[in-house]
Structures are given as C-alpha cells and as structure tokens.
Amino acid sequence: MIAPIDKSVGETGGKARTLHNARRVAASVLLSAKISNDRTARPISTWCAWLFAAWAAVVTTTYFAYMLGIVD
C-alpha cells in the first residue's frame, strides 16, 4: 500500500502550524458539533434553527438601528 502523501512535508514549520490552526478553527465552526458524551444531544431541526437565527438577526439589526439613530 502506498502511504498517503503528507502535504505538509514541503512547508515550513511555522506556516504549517498556522494553516493547521486555521483549519481547526474553520472545522469547529462549520462542521457538526461533536458533543463528546452527550447522548441526549440530538441535532435541532433546520427550520427551528433558522427561525431562531432570523429572530436574532431581526432583533440585533433593529437594536443597532435604534442606537445609531436610524430609527427613532
């Protein structure tokens, strides 16, 4: 079997570490949460999640509109 090519071999240590950290941050934000032992942690339905996100967006936008004087 041919071992997979390690793409970091050709890069410098500092740059590789930065890239690695950036990949970890992006993965922790974008991929599904891994709640380690939480067996009751079922994913929340998409519509519920978007409803909450919409609420948060509307409230936050309205608030900043009031604070910046755009709305009286």
Binding site: V29, F52, Y63
Partner: protein, 636 residues
Amino acid sequence: MLAQLLSLLAILVITLAAYGLGRPVLRGLNVAGEDHLTNGVWSVAVGLVLGGTLLAMLGLVGLLDRTLIGVLSILGCLWGIGQIVHQRMLATLAGKPAPEPQPQTAPWAPPARWIRRTVLILAFAACGGSLIGALAPTTAGDALCYHLELPKTFLADHAIRFTPDSDNSTFPLLAEMWYTWALALDGPVAAGLIHWELGVLLGLATVLLATPIVSRPWAWLAGAVVVLVPGVSNQMTAPMNDLAFALMTTLSVAAWWRAVVAEESRGWFVLVGIAGGGALATKYLALVFALAVAVPTLWLVWRGRPRRRLVLQGVAVVSIVAVSFAGLWYVRAARHRGNPVYPFLSEVFAASDSPDRKIHETLPESKSPLGRNPVTMATAPWQVTMQPDRFGGRGHQLGVLFLAALPGLAFARRLRGLGILLAVSVVYATIWYLLRQNVRFLLPVVPMLSVAVVWVWIEVGRFPPLPRVVVGCLFGGVLVAFSIVALARCRDQLPVALAFESRDDYLSRSEPTWRAARLSNLIFGPKDHLLTQDYRAFYFDCRVTRESLYRRRVAYDRSVTDPRDFSRTLTEAGFTHVLLAENLNDQGIQYDPTLSRLTDAQLRENEADSMLQLGEYQFPDADGGLRRYRLVMLLR
C-alpha cells in the same frame, strides 16, 4: 502619574485588608477548601461587608477618623498578605497541589479555545476601557450629589450624622462606607476604582454562579458577558451603588444555590446571609430581590419534603445573619424619619398630614414609562432593549444580547438549576415592572440571565452548520460592539487617566461646579456653609446644603418679605455663601429659580454691604443645559 499610582495603591490596600477580614470567616465556615477563584472572590466580598459594617459602627459612635482608618487599613492589609503567604507555605510544606475547580462533569464539550480567548479578550478590553474612566475624577451627578458627598461629610464630622436636608442620608449606606474608606486613604479617584473593582468582582461572581450549572469553562463566558453589558461597563467608571448591589445579590444566589439546590455544607447559608445582608445594606431594592428569591424557595419547600427542613433552617440562619449586618441602617432610618425605608412607603409610615405623603410617592407615574397593564408588560423586554432612554438612559442599558438569545430557551433542553435562576429573574423583573421602571435596577438579574444566554450558546452547537455560523456571528458581533463602546466611551478621560492632563484641568472642562468649588475652597474654610442650587456638592470642602431640599423643609422664601432681608435670613441660618445655577436654555435639568430670584432682588437694591459676587461663568452641561454659575458671599 504619582496620583494615579497612589489611588491604585489605596485600592490594593483595601482589597488586601478585605481579603484578610474575609478569609478567616470562610475557613471558620468550613467552605475554605475551594479553588482559588472561589476563595478569592468570597474572601474579598465578605471582607468588604465586614469592613463596611465596622466603619459604620465607628461612624455611629463618632470615631470615623482618617488616621484610625489608615492604621486599621495597613494592619488589615498586612494581615491579608500574611494570610496569603501562610496558605502558600502550608500548601508547599504539605506537598498539596493548588486546589482545582470542581471536576468537569458536564456532558457537553467546553467552548473552543479560540472562542474562549476571544470573548475573554473582549471582556478584558471592556474592563480596561472602564478602568480608564475610573482613573479620571468623577463627574457623575449622583456620585457628586450623595454617593461621595455623604462620605465626605461623615469624614469631616468624624461621625455618621443625620442630615435633615438630604433625603439620601438615611438610606442604607454600605457602599458609601467603602467610599469613606477610599476617601480616607486617597480621594475620589480611589472611590471610583472601588466601584470598578466591584464590576470585576461581579463578573467573577457570575463565574461562581454559573460553574455548577454549565461547568467552569463556559462559566467564564457568562462572566465575560456580564462585564460586556453596556450598563455594567458604564457603571464601572463612576462610584455609584448599583454594581455593589448586583454583586451582593449574585453572591447570595450563588451561595443559596450551593446550600439548597446542591445541598452542600450548611456554612453556605451563613454566606447567603452575609451577602444578603450586604445587599440589604446597599439598597432598599434588596427587599424586592429577597421576595423574588422567596418565591422559588417556597416552591422547593412545597415540592419536596426532604428539603423542607433544610430550607426552613436555612431561611432562619439567613434572616438572622442578614439582619445583623443590615439592620442598623433600617433602625437608623426609622429613628430619624419614622420610616425604616424612607422615603418609600411614606403612604404607610408617614402621618396623614405629613408632606412626605405627597412628595414621596412610592409608585409615581413618572417612574413608570410603560404604565402598568398586560400589553406593555408583554412588550417590556422589547421596549427596554430598544429605547433605554425612556428607562433611565442609554448609559445604563442591558444591551441586545438577552433579547436576542433568551428565546432560544424554547428549543434548549432543560438544565438542572437554570430554572431556579430564571424563576428568580422573572419574579424580580415583574416586581420591577410594577414598581419603578429604571433599567439600572435590573442589573441584579444580568448575571442570572447571562447563565441562560451561555446555555443557549451551548445548545446552538446542536444547530446545522449554516444557522450556527449566522447566530455565532451575530452574538460575536454584539460582544465586539459592546467592547468597542466600552473603550470608546472613555477616550475623553484617557489624557487625565494617563496623567497627560492634570485633574484640575480635566475637572475645569468637564465638571460644571468645579470652578466654583475651587474658588470657594480658596476663600472659605471647611466650617463654612454653602447653599447651592446645583445638586453636585462633592468638590466643595465646606458643608453644602441643596437649596430645593432646604426650602422644602423650612420654606425660608416665605419669610422674606423685604428683599433687603434675604441675606440676613440666610446668615442667621448659618449660611456663608450661595451658589446660583441659572438655566440659560430649556434643555437639561431646570433648577428652581427661587434662590437666584431672591439674590438678584437684593443685589438690585444695591446692598453692597450685604452680598458680594465673587465669580461668574457659564458652562454647557452634559445634559444639554447651558447654565450661568455665580458664587456670592453673604456679608450680613
């Protein structure tokens, strides 16, 4: 820069002395085996309550002396350092590792390291911004009116005396005792730094409150959310008493949770009593908070027989301890005013023909912008968030995070212990709505709601990726904005905080009464007596009486039938000079013109041997008002 360093040194001495007072209490109650954070926060908080109460007792017996306070502070500070060194030595000799927080038993993962670091950095930045504000001499109206003015008077008199012309002089004054402590060691900047420190302690107390519920890693985020609340970071720049009150209520709930919900050591009940007594000794509002805690407590008692006896015993212990610390303020108010909660409940305690009934309504319409009906009650969270100007001002607002995040509890799982905090918050907020709708009175529920916000944050981890990113960006953006506001707010104080501008120059351009105070202090001594139209009195070295309150008590203006007798009327009452503050526009606070009208009437009579105008200037105030200030000496 030396002045700033001395102010910081004064705070360090007070903190170490408080730690030295509080640490043995924790040890004696057998709750001292906790981690450093728990020991540190509780030791300082308990020590502050003990120290403030001790100063109050010294004041009531006429022993409030700067030298005595200084000596006791140094001794307390050395004792506190000794406590720390002793603990370290014992731990080293026993070979024990440093105590760790309770082990992580939460089933959910801790926050990502970059999230935790980012939020904590934002919180540090907000604390840094408010520290800049606290290092500047205060110009906050309430602080100059009574939070610092009363301690100044107490130190000058060497006693806590009753002042009939000050409604605030019979309030619970524990926070003012801490300011007395700071004024004795340094000055008003040290007093401001005390309130800044109380804000930091509030954030740390939130960590203690949240730890048994969401685990320590997430609890740090709850603490960070608290110090990022605009009202909290703003209050950290001025010596008021709302953060002191919120700190004591948070600690009392945290200790109560440990005693009743987690059923840990009975010593926690004593700590509930000390913190609850501290809250009662800071603001009357603590009586409302006690009622808010009593409701879920009664539910626990009704619900479960095994806990019933524990709770009833705990209530007895808490009541006895709390009354021991706070009772003296209520007894003092009852003695001088005939009303232990003066000026509130005048309808109950005042005589039927007393003017207090009309002047001091407990539920005035002007203090309830929303009115009192089911519709406005339902919309109150929206209105308070979007239009805080109507509820005491933008500076005291709670921000948007709670309104945006808390509806997320609808999809969140039930979390043990959180329901109790929410029940206390809802009951307190309901009573707030029914009594006085000022947004800074909601600060006690901020830590409890922050725990709920963090739980929603944890549960957002169960979202699909894209909505999770959207919500994360929104929450993150709000926290970044609050941090920027806390930093930007204090840019005007940056030069004086870093000693590039002198305190005198800063006050000359920022505080309306400073020039008059400087002139008064040059000409008059501490034993002279000023009658002033402006409510800000702290920077005057002499005794100061507010003209509106004096006139309300003695109606001196009605006894002046001849304008030429006006000066004699005041000098016979003991006044040596007057400060006139006349409104030149219709913005801001409009002072009653009686004093300036009578003074001008006498000056028009060309009575040069009765009054002498010493100085005059105009000043644009922060509330938009433009005023003309005149300092006038009374000659006969």
